[in-house]
């Protein structure tokens, strides 16, 4: 076990992938000498060369479009989109090309491309640097969408995403890049949960708290605080948003009878809405309260001096927990 930041865990995972498969490439803006604006690719160009760790021109559609061509030639590109709000110039290439190529070709073509996107707010950034666009990709068939929540997730999931034959949109909680925890980097990934498996971080009997990405830490802290008030909260880190690990969600909610979903993205049309609909359908007779959502408002991401009022935090999660118990 080694103590790593989430950023470093990604770096170690990428390094392993580059070592294990000569077809793996990293491409993006500033990923080379600079090591990425969050240093996730630090040192990789030095060790693997400019042909495998590619500083691209500054155009996101070009990054994904050329990655598709490289994948058609047998490569496994890992693309970095520098910030969440910069993915939209690449949206056509992701939604119309990347997601659909296997389907259109009747399975003759596969595009094993990983698109890394630092996402979420809470870092006092200017606009377009704090968004949570994950649901747009969840709505797109053909893509897998995952979000890592802690360094252990980051280390394993980035490697699993790269070895996956489907395109994976890989969300990284940018405000948690410097969070540290223990990661086992010694062996392989045999003991790691599968890429589309949720992880239960705390077991409990009274309420299920579902979260991913930056909200994982918030929810673990909320569960700890609630425990002091005598409430037994189960925290599940969803990890995979497409596909969702529905059996894990249903099993927990059938046990607890209460469910709160937490994400930074606006609640309207979000992952929480999807989960609420499915839980209501499948766990109707187990529910003691409606599924509640805690998330961003239906506004554009606000200026950073007021972002704390937009982002779910410990108190807003606990407030939702209280409301669930009040039914």
């Amino acid at each position: 076990m080694t103590t790593l930041t989430l950023s470093r865990a990604l770096n170690e995972g990428l390094r392993k992938a580059l070592e294990n498969d000569s077809k793996v490439l990293i491409m993006g803006e500033d990923v080379g000498k600079l090591g990425g604006v969050f240093r996730v690719t630090d040192g990789l160009q030095k060790d693997f060369g400019e042909d495998r760790v590619i500083d691209t021109p500054l155009a996101e559609s070009g990054i994904i479009g050329t990655a598709i061509g490289l994948a058609l030639r047998g490569y496994r590109p890992v693309c970095e989109i520098q910030f969440d709000g910069f993915v939209f110039p690449a949206f056509d290439q992701i939604v119309s090309q990347l997601a659909k190529m296997a389907y259109r070709s009747l399975g003759n073509l596969r595009l094993p491309i990983t698109v890394r996107i630092p996402f979420g707010g809470g870092i006092g950034a200017v606009e377009h640097h704090s968004e949570s666009p994950e649901v747009l990709f969840v709505h797109t068939a053909g893509l897998r969408v995952v979000a890592c929540g802690d360094p252990a997730d980051a280390y394993a999931m980035i490697q699993q995403s790269i070895s996956c034959d489907d395109p994976v949109i890989f969300f990284e909680p940018k405000r948690r890049y410097w969070d540290k925890s223990e990661v086992d980097t010694s062996g392989g990934l045999a003991d790691a949960p599968a890429l589309d498996e949720a992880r239960t971080l705390a077991t409990g009997d009274d309420l299920t708290l579902l979260c991913y990405g930056p909200m994982v830490r918030t929810c673990v802290e909320a569960a700890t605080a609630a425990r002091e008030e005598g409430r037994s909260i189960e925290v599940i880190n969803l990890r995979s948003l497409s596909p969702l690990d529905l059996p894990a969600i249903f099993a927990s909610v059938r046990k607890t009878g209460r469910c709160v979903v937490v994400h930074e993205a606006p609640v309207t049309g979000g992952i929480g809405a999807e989960i609420a609909a499915r839980v209501t359908q499948e766990c109707f007779y187990s529910l003691e309260a409606p599924v509640l959502r805690v998330g961003g408002y239906s506004t554009p991401y606000p200026p950073s001096r007021i972002e704390e009022h937009y982002l779910p935090d410990l108190d807003r999660v606990l407030d939702a927990v209280d409301r669930s118990f009040a039914f």
Binding site: L25, D51, T56, P57, A59, S61, G62, I64, G65, T66, A67, I68, G69, L70, A71, L72, R73, G74, Y75, P89, D92, Q93, S96, Q97, K100, M101, A102, Y103, R104, S105, L106, G107, N108, L109, R110, A141, G142, R144, C164, D165, D166, S242, P243, L244, L246, P247
Partner: protein, 381 residues
């Protein structure tokens, strides 16, 4: 106000290269069927090779004709005709080596033919039986791309892969990206030019300038000849008579050869004309003059080869009759395979979305299967 308007008109017609810079049009066979030489593009073709090109041109026009008829009869949802662009497609298509990779738009039926793809496969897409569905690796011919210009980036990325495979140099490989005049306004095409340029990627950009992007004429896309844009990106650009199959063959051969050898990209502007509608749903009489069409008819890509074959004594009437008969045969074959094409199983819509098993897909497939079988049970009652 009047002054301002005049100034705008003047600036829009300004010739940036001075009055002497009339675009050069590379031509090896005139519309009258006269063979001319070009110092940079020597081309030696045997009589058999020329006859083979003629055959390609006639057959792809026949396939196109049959597809239009099938659409009119309700057998295809839509068809994008290549009428008038046969020489650009056959000339460039026959310049490719077996290991080169072509990235088409949705109108490259002539290139598909040259790559050995069964025309019936193209019809699947336009009939609505599949979204393409051929194996691009089997013919080194990628799927049709409908979103304008997107495939130019795929071709460029593929070319970057060729570089990483060490397949540039003697006996090298290259990619070719097809697109139209309208596509040159797309961000993706400009990004592809940049990527290809800074990486010196082995890719040829083959732009069929057919003068029209649905209803928009060329002056809505550009105020300089398209091939001159390449200079701004740092690689050669040239304009070829897109209705001259010899010239298209010669310039594409040279550009592909340069790319394979590591000399980087070339932009070829094949100057041609979309003789038909944009697609079978379009009505060009709403936006263009028939006189324009008539003037291009005189530059027909097939007629000039025929004239050349006759004049040079390489072919007689029996050859042309033989090709015409073969064309009918191919047309009939295309028709039959279209009519015999079964609709896909509804449940196949759930196939090939993901490489691995996906619980959501499996669940929804089961839902539809069960819903469909509920009708069968009702029918049995």
């Amino acid at each position: 106000m009047a002054v301002k308007a005049a100034g705008r008109a003047a600036s829009r017609t300004r010739n940036h290269d001075g009055p002497e810079a009339k675009p050069e049009l590379i031509q090896l066979l005139t519309p009258e069927g006269e063979r001319i030489e070009h110092p940079d593009y020597p081309l030696e073709l045997s009589a058999d090779e020329i006859k083979a090109l003629y055959r390609d041109l006639v057959l792809v026009r026949r396939i196109d004709f049959e597809a239009i008829a099938l659409q009119r009869q309700g057998e295809l949802g839509i068809w994008a005709s290549l009428l008038g662009q046969e020489a650009a497609q056959v000339g460039s298509g026959r310049a490719l080596g077996p290991r080169d990779m072509a990235f088409p738009t949705y109108r490259e039926h002539g290139v598909a033919w040259c790559r050995g793809l069964d025309p019936a496969k193209l019809l699947e897409l336009f009939r609505g039986v599949s979204h393409g569905g051929w194996d691009p690796k089997a013919h080194n011919f990628h799927l049709y791309t409908i979103v304008i210009g997107a495939q130019t980036l795929h071709a460029t990325g593929y070319a970057m892969g060729i570089q990483r495979d060490g397949a540039v140099g003697e006996d090298g490989e290259a990619a070719i990206a097809y697109f139209g005049d309208g596509a040159t306004s797309q961000g993706d095409v400009n990004e592809a030019f940049i990527w290809a340029s800074v990486n010196n990627a082995p890719v040829v950009f083959f732009c069929q300038n057919n003068q029209w992007a649905i209803s928009e004429p060329l002056d809505r896309q550009t105020r300089i000849p398209l091939y001159r844009r390449a200079a701004g990106f740092g690689f050669p650009g040239l304009r070829v008579d897109g209705n001259d199959v010899f010239a298209c063959l010669a310039v594409t051969r040279k550009a592909m050869h340069a790319a394979r050898e590591g000399q980087g990209p070339t932009l070829i502007e094949a100057y041609t004309y979309r003789m038909g509608a944009h697609t079978t749903t379009d009505d060009p009489t709403r936006y263009r003059l028939s006189a324009e069409l008539e003037s291009w008819k005189l530059k027909d890509p097939i007629e000039r080869v025929k004239q050349y074959l006759i004049r040079s004594g390489m072919a007689q009437e029996d050859f042309f009759a033989e090709i015409a008969a073969e064309a009918d045969e191919v047309g009939n074959r295309v028709r039959t395979s279209c009519l015999e094409m079964p609709d896909p199983d509804p449940l196949s819509m759930f196939d090939n979305i993901y490489a691995d098993a996906n619980a959501l897909v499996a669940d929804e497939r089961a839902q539809l299967a069960s819903y469909l079988s509920s009708f069968e049970q009702e029918g049995a009652r």
